[in-house]
């Protein structure tokens, strides 16, 4: 598939966290959390709303500081947020799409910023069925199409680690399949994926793709009052 040529130069390294704890607004979101992802591996974060999946993804991305534990990339502690950020792509519930720019211009901006290849833009659009929308201003896109545009960013410049927060939201079946294919291709070339999803259907879909290799012991670590204060 289209991701292939850009994914070949992925360096296959491992990513892990030990004893992670995070406190937001004075309340404990999670504590004693361990995870480890090997090259080609995937991690599905499951849990009810507010269980801290998004917070954990933001911790993994280096956006949110954790209060205890440590993150390691290929057994080396993650210290510099910028060099860690360069190794990952994070698709959040916000699409980061500029309504005034066309679909191509939106992708071209991120491609330039991440030093990707111009040629990968067309391939990324094809992968998420955006080619016929290429010259449309993004303000005309539906929620699902905007989300596909956000997902297409994964393919414009290779990065070893993908962090996906509820990537199935607003997607139709064909787009879910496209996402599943992109994830499979990424993993086949040694990339790592972390997916947060409370949606059983998408996770089942993930199982057939062999996404759910590992379920972190998130929920089991919490008492009820900790859960009530946990930020989504």
């Amino acid at each position: 598939m289209d991701g292939d040529d850009s994914s070949k130069d992925l360096r296959t390294q491992s990513f892990s966290g030990v004893g992670l704890a995070c406190r937001r607004g004075g309340r404990l979101v999670f504590t004693g959390l361990d995870f480890s992802i090997s090259p080609g591996g995937a991690l599905v974060l499951r849990g009810p709303n507010g269980s801290g999946k998004t917070t954990l993804l933001r911790v993994m991305a280096g956006l949110t500081h954790f209060t205890a534990g440590h993150l390691a990339w290929d057994s080396v502690p993650v210290e510099d947020p910028d060099s860690h950020a360069a190794r990952l792509r994070f698709v959040t519930h916000l699409d980061a799409v500029k309504p005034a720019l066309t679909v191509t211009e939106n992708l071209a901006f991120w491609t330039a910023l991440w030093r990707g290849k111009e040629a990968s833009i067309a391939a990324a659009m094809a992968a998420f069925d955006l080619t016929r929308l290429a010259e449309f201003p993004a303000r005309l896109l539906s929620a699902g199409q905007r989300h596909r545009l956000a997902l297409a960013r994964l393919l414009v410049a290779p990065a070893p680690l993908w962090l996906l927060d509820e990537p199935g939201n607003a997607l139709d079946t064909a787009s879910r399949d496209a996402l599943a294919r992109a994830i499979a291709d990424h993993r086949a070339s040694g990339g790592m994926v972390v997916v947060a999803s409370h949606e059983a259907a998408f996770v089942e879909n993930g199982d057939t793709l062999d996404v759910g290799l590992f379920t972190p012991k998130i929920a089991s670590h919490w008492s009820d009052d900790e859960l009530s204060g946990a930020a989504e």
Binding site: D82, A85, A86, F90, H93, A100, L101, W110
Partner: protein, 221 residues
């Protein structure tokens, strides 16, 4: 440096597509300035005395109006998260955004200023110092304003808070900006005042992008 140019190009393109935002700022500048002859009265000598100060104060307020939106849109649509995660130095990204802001609001204000100075009966020898002072002072306005805009991200009523935070910091620029015009009108050289404004701009250029980047990291935490 490619980061800087990518951000600058994107923000300029967005500003051109959404040119109403920049035009609002210029229109505010024009209307606020034109109110003064009505309020103070039409005597040419009174207006000439206050012309430099009026243009400067309204320019600062107009700039403030646009600074409110400098990071808010990127913050709300998730772009800021992605920019922080770009792996590139965030202060370069900030600099790109600030330069784009200056080109789309500071420069139009400078171009408008002589036209508005006419309505305030500014004597002919004041025009060049006024434009030069704005040229050297508005970059500082954008740079310092960016720090404030980053600090108030995510707060309710951020715009009001931004004014309280940033307007006091504009006082030195205002003093030397109006002094440059004053000097020219009294036949003294405006160069020392302009040099001080240039010095402010250099100081702001070295410190503000870095401080803004730190505030943005805090905002996306």
């Amino acid at each position: 440096m490619s980061v800087f140019t990518s951000i600058l190009a994107r923000d300029l393109r967005l500003a051109i597509r959404q040119s109403a935002d920049s035009l609002t700022v210029v229109a505010f500048f024009a209307i606020a300035t034109v109110l003064f002859p009505f309020g103070v009265g039409p005597e040419a000598n009174v207006l000439a005395r206050i012309a430099g100060g009026v243009v400067w104060v309204t320019a600062l307020l107009a700039a403030l109006l646009s600074l409110d939106r400098l990071f808010t849109v990127d913050f709300e649509d998730g772009t800021l998260d992605q920019l922080v995660l770009s792996g590139e130095p965030l202060s370069f990204i900030v600099l790109g955004k600030v330069v784009a802001h200056w080109l789309t609001t500071g420069v139009p204000l400078i171009i408008m200023s002589p036209i508005l100075a006419v309505t305030l009966h500014l004597p002919a020898e004041g025009y060049l110092p006024l434009m030069l002072a704005l040229l050297l002072g508005t970059p500082t306005v954008s740079l310092v304003g960016a720090v404030g805009a980053a600090l108030v991200l995510g707060t309710r009523r951020g715009g009001v808070l931004l004014s309280l935070l940033v307007l006091p910091l504009y006082i030195p620029v205002l003093i030397f900006g109006t002094a440059a015009v004053e000097a020219a009108l009294t036949g003294v050289s405006a160069t020392p005042m302009l040099s001080v404004l240039g010095g402010f701009a250099v100081l702001a250029l070295t410190l503000c992008p870095w401080a803004t980047a730190a505030a943005l990291r805090q905002a996306v935490e």
